[in-house]
Amino acid sequence: MIHTVNKSPFERNSLDSCIRLSVKGAPILLIEDGVLAATRGTSVSDKVAAAMDDHPMFVLGPDLKARGLAEDDVADGITIVDYSGFVDLVVEHGTVQSWL
């Protein structure tokens, strides 16, 4: 299973619920406003870093760029993918759970 989170971690509880309800090892892909969780030096950075102990973390590059966030702004350990990479992740990891 792979989880997608499309909500801002500053505004909503989607990322929290995803972390609480996903099994160890399940990858999380941040898309749309969810990409705001991926940058360094924010009030949620520590939470995201902690989640990365249990979950491979990915972020959708096109959504980062749209919001003016550079690859350099992304925290270490988070892998940037494009839509093609999004498709590959879904193919590889089976069922998709969208945390809306």
Binding site: N6, I31, E32, D33, P62, D82, Y83, S84, F86, V87, D88, V90, V91, G94, T95, V96, S98, L100
Partner: protein, 119 residues
Amino acid sequence: MKFGILVNEGPFTHQASDSAYQFVKAAIEKGHQVMRVFFYYDGVNNANKLSAPQSDDRNLVKLWGELAAEHNVDLVVCIAAALRRGIVEDNLADGFRISGLGQLTEVGIAADRLVVFGD
């Protein structure tokens, strides 16, 4: 691999339909099959053929229709959700068809993956 897609929101207000479209395009480019895109909730508004965005903006209604024509993607609008929101045959855009919610369950069973885009 065979994909099914569920789109829960209309064009413009949320990015869901944009994301779904980009995902579907990428999947097709990689040689996958997208069996059906099912439009539910406000997603039915993606099929409103009267939608006329500004000239410098994307037109998702048209883009979905073109994708369907080129790559044989089945675009299904949920009839119950559509009736509530005033989407009927009269204003249905090319490439879409109106059908029952069972078509969502059906593609869930038949596809290898169902991916949901919403709010």
